[in-house]
């Protein structure tokens, strides 16, 4: 075990115990939020005005209020209503981690929808028309032409969102979830030193390093058009030259 500070050896291990919660919260809310966001972005771009307005209202609401407030409202706020406590949702809302996943998912859905919307709008219209001219159906056009390019365009922005979400999971510590942040806070208050917080910060740095590298790799994979071909095949102009 690497020892950075004059800390009891187990501080790293203690904080590592919170790692599964941090990863679970970030992973599940990002996964759920991504699919919801695709739907929301499509609704935002749909030709039906009332639907557009609804989608915009959702995005506006969740982007314009602090995530911490959303977490508190869902966890402490909903729990105060007798009706909520009696409802079938209570077994879920009773648990802090479901409340946290709900808040994080609703939040990332709003941001991701805007990122995807930007990606969708960036697909050149000429390509869509060309696909139409080839006789592609709406679904085929979306699957083969629009969506792959939209995702590629949205990726840098989405990478940002991933990093933000990983950091945002630390807010779940305020509603009793024993993630890395809460364990570090408990250790800090037990030892009256800020070193456990430094250790937690180091963990977040490593996670986000891996996440950003992952996004970079994906960007590379999805942009074959922007890099040189790695095949052994000779270039076309040389083919032409050899032919003569």
């Amino acid at each position: 075990m690497i020892k950075l500070f004059d800390q009891p050896d187990n501080t790293w291990e203690l904080i590592a115990n919170g790692l599964p919660w941090t990863l679970t919260l970030a992973g599940s809310s990002l996964a759920l939020g991504f699919f919801l966001a695709i739907g929301l972005a499509l609704v935002r771009l749909s030709p039906y005005r009332p639907l557009q307005a609804l989608a915009y209202a959702y995005v506006y609401l969740f982007r314009s209020t602090p995530l911490l407030v959303q977490i508190f409202l869902i966890y402490y706020g909903l729990g105060q209503f007798e009706a909520v406590q009696q409802s079938f949702l209570w077994p879920l809302l009773r648990e802090a981690h479901w409340c946290a996943i709900l808040a994080l998912t609703l939040n990332t859905t709003a941001y991701t929808a805007e990122i995807i919307r930007g990606g969708l709008l960036a697909v050149p219209w000429g390509q869509v028309e060309a696909a139409k001219a080839c006789g592609m159906s709406t679904w085929l056009r979306f699957r083969r032409v629009i969506f792959p390019q939209a995702i590629r365009q949205a990726l840098p922005g989405y990478g940002n969102e991933i990093v933000l979400m990983i950091k945002s999971t630390s807010l779940a510590s305020t509603i009793t979830i024993l993630d890395m942040t809460l364990i570090a806070r408990k250790e800090t208050s037990a030892t009256f030193s800020i070193e456990p917080l430094f250790i937690a910060a180091a963990f977040y740095l490593v996670i986000n390093f891996v996440a950003t590298r992952g996004v970079m790799w994906l960007e590379y994979r999805l942009s074959p058009d922007l890099r040189e071909a790695k095949t052994g095949r000779t270039l076309p102009d040389q083919d032409v030259a050899n032919a003569h």
Binding site: Y76, R94, T188
Partner: protein, 285 residues
């Protein structure tokens, strides 16, 4: 590794986490900054218009008047209250803080100005409303067999259940040391948030000071709650509540101790305690 630690310490300094705090000459007319949490009624809390009020807010005014100090009160989140004292953001803590050996390792205290046992509170219509032990008071510093049995009874009753407690309190230490295991301990930023979860049924019981619960249970917010089991004192609960002060400012701690002694002698302290807690939780001679 030494270098890295130094580097981080410098970084901490640069960001204002720690500002130099050296002993000052304390005397008449000195200005003293006092910190309180402002979320622990009736000790210290904010009223509907946002003013800090409570037992300690009245007490600090009385003590400072006796000592002829220019005191100012500021609000500080409970969790970082000791590190910020050491960093010199203020000079004293008056926030319902128990005098414990663990805290004495890093800061010093005035003499105690109040003493109050820790007790469990549950919903009065819940399954734990009838929890009883053979003894009413458990002194953690010298446990006899009956007291040990009482702790075992509590531990057994809450097996598989959840007990809520405020983070970084003597009560949290007690739960971790003596109750945790089969019992899940949930920690909260503030006592007020813990109360919400107790009412919502997310925790089966909550542990805090009698002086906190008693006035609450008489109000609407405390409707449907009930104190159960024995009152716990000593050991992890410390020896009463005092003003927390940096070690190098022992002189200031001594001044506060003297003023507290005077307030006990002339009855001011017990008058304030009865006014705020509804019973005399003040320290005695």
């Amino acid at each position: 590794m030494k270098k890295l630690t130094t580097l981080l310490a410098v970084a901490a300094l640069a960001t204002g986490v720690a500002t130099a705090a050296s002993a000052a000459d304390w005397g008449k007319g000195s200005s003293v900054r006092i910190a309180t949490e402002g979320a622990y009624a009736p000790w210290n809390y904010t009223d509907s218009s946002g003013n800090l009020v409570g037992f300690e807010v009245d007490l600090y005014k009385d003590l400072c008047a006796r000592l002829e100090l220019e005191c100012t009160l500021q609000q500080q989140a409970w969790e970082g209250i000791i590190p910020a004292l050491q960093a010199g953001k203020y000079d004293a803590i008056m926030a319902g803080m128990s005098i414990t050996e663990k805290r004495m390792e890093v800061i010093t205290f005035s003499r105690s100005y109040a003493a109050t046992p820790g007790v469990f509170v549950v919903k009065s219509d819940g399954p734990f409303a009838d929890l009883k032990t053979d003894v009413d008071a458990v002194t953690m510093s010298e446990l006899d067999d009956a007291e040990k049995a009482a702790i075992a009874t509590v531990k057994e009753a809450f097996a598989g259940k959840t007990i809520g407690v405020q983070i970084a309190t003597t009560h949290e230490n007690f739960l971790n040391e003596f109750i945790a295991g089969d019992v899940t301990v949930k920690t909260y930023d503030t006592q007020e948030n813990l109360d919400l979860d107790l009412q919502a049924g997310r925790v089966d019981a909550a542990l805090a000071a009698m002086s906190y619960w008693k006035p609450l249970l008489e109000k609407d917010e405390g409707k449907g709650l009930k104190i159960v089991g024995p009152g716990f004192t000593g050991g992890p609960f410390g020896n009463g509540v005092g003003a927390g002060i940096r070690k190098e400012d022992q002189a200031l701690a001594d001044m506060f101790s003297k003023a507290i002694g005077e307030a006990i002698a002339d009855g001011t302290l017990s008058k304030l305690a009865i006014e705020h807690f509804g019973f005399d939780a003040s320290a005695k001679e």
